[in-house]
């Protein structure tokens, strides 16, 4: 696959986002990666959409780095954007702390953000400030904890339908 566009795009991104403090643009093998503080995500996404043609938000997710590097903020929140005119992509990343896992919502810019932020919110407990509808989407009302966090035990169960009498929940242990 032709990857020359990454080398052409990265300097333009650097120039456009130079005014934002704490911004770093890297050239990964698959697409340029823009890492910046959470407070500037919304403006950066708007710049990418309006000036660079990244009109489609294809993905929102997070990565939990619990216990990997001391002193590192726990979560990476990751957005993938796609341009439809030029077949280019960009990855936006920000680091957020466990104490205040909050990033701005991109719902005013992209309709697709609504559902994907709901999923990221329930799975990781990331708050998307400005998204008024963070109801569970893949999980259910009343689910305790955030299952994709590394400290959520993979064997922990929260059945909505209780087990029948005398049937022990298999391998259920730990708490979220």
């Amino acid at each position: 696959m032709d990857t020359g566009w990454i080398d052409r795009l990265a300097p333009r991104l650097e120039a456009a986002l130079a005014a934002v403090p704490g911004t770093a643009v890297q050239r990964a093998a698959d697409m340029p990666v823009v890492e910046l503080p959470a407070a500037h995500i919304f403006d950066a996404a708007r710049t990418l959409r309006d000036d660079f043609g990244f009109v489609m938000l294809v993905d929102v997710t997070a990565v939990d780095w619990l216990g990997r590097e001391p002193g590192r903020p726990r979560f990476d929140v990751v957005w993938h954007l796609r341009s439809l005119d030029a077949a280019e992509r960009v990855r936006l990343k920000t680091r957020v702390d466990e104490a205040a896992p909050e990033v701005p919502s991109l719902v005013p810019l992209f309709g697709s953000a609504a559902f994907m932020e709901r999923e990221c919110h329930e799975m990781f407990g990331i708050r998307f400030a400005g998204n008024a509808d963070l109801r569970p989407i893949l999980l259910y009302e009343g689910f305790a904890g955030h299952p994709l966090r590394k400290d959520y035990d993979i064997h922990h169960e929260q059945p909505l339908v209780p087990y029948r009498d005398g049937v022990a929940p298999p391998r259920s242990r730990g708490t979220p």
């Binding site: 696959m1 990964a28 009109v55 294809v58 990565v63 109801r135 893949l138 993979i154």
Partner: protein
Amino acid sequence: MNARLPNPVRAAFEPSNEDDGRVIVNIGPSHPATHGTVQIITELDGEKVLRADVHCGYLHRGFEKECEAHTWHNLIPYVDRLNYCSALINDFAYCGAVEQLMGIQITPRTRVLRTLLSEYSRIADHITCIAAGLMELGAMTAFLYLMTLRDYIYEHLADLTGARVTYSYGRIGGLARDLPAGWLQRLDHILSVEFETYVGRIHGLMDRNRIFIDRMRRVGTLTQAQAVSYGCTGPMLRSTGLARDLRRDAPYLAYADLDFDVPTGILGDNYDRYVVRMREMDESVHMIRQCVDLLPAGPINVDDPRCSFPDKGLVYGEIESLINHFKLVIDGPRVPAGETYLAHEGANGELGFYIVSTGEGRPWRVHCRAPSFVHMGATHLMLEGGQLADVVPTFGSVNMIGGECDR
């Protein structure tokens, strides 16, 4: 059991107290008329849908969490079960993402074979979508014709992979096995006889059928601006008239060597989605024939001890291969630390895998960008303003696959 279970979902809107004729109707999650396990809470005025609140997640089984507890190889059967109508595309997208992170170039034969099988799977997926959609409109004959054709394809794929639906056929760095003798001859027969027969009958029955057009035209319309904003890809986006296809825009596998059209619709309604899928099946047949002509001889697995299993004879015969086999099974392939995102054009749209490795045999994080899930976020736009009777056909034309949507 007498105790009432708590309601697993909370509707986005409440019934109004005024006597204005509006009622809330809950559709699904499990009802013979719904297309898959999904719940749609609708606010109706008569039979007109005023608001719709789509809830998915009833097939959620913790795919991404489970991935973190298994080796990179062990995930292949799991990714099969995402979109179980075109499992091979999932296999190849996932393996492609891991290969991208490992810096592996697959062999020329595997490159063409994966392309061929992706297009073959796309045909099976589109058949499923169109067949189910037609059945929901009452066209039982069309459904049975298409299911007959799909079964020929499934049986044919079983000859290759050993399974009808979930194949586990991809391997990191290659494929599970090479084509059996006579497989390509049978493929040619299916495409030129069975496919032409049954799809030809569907064209004859449906394309200019007055009842079908009345039910589908200008129903479930999505504008191009809405489709882009809501992240719609695949036939959903192309039906609005935007010819965007990853196979053309960012060619992967062998797509750069193939000649094919990207069909588009005009209005972005149910009829256009039907036409786009029917046209795409023809393009897939055209691509498969080119792949058969292109198919080079040679090995299917790369010679890389980091991911490829040694020949079974060597495992029993020499200690190095035994250790290599043991380490690959127990520890898993060592994938260099880093992250990557790879998207393939799945049958429903952009199927992406975002994988993060810490250099170990098990992934730190695997995220599947499922087109069905993203499309569910746009479905209320297509339902609102329409008729209650059109909810299920419109929903069917999105081709939401629960395994992939709910992960």
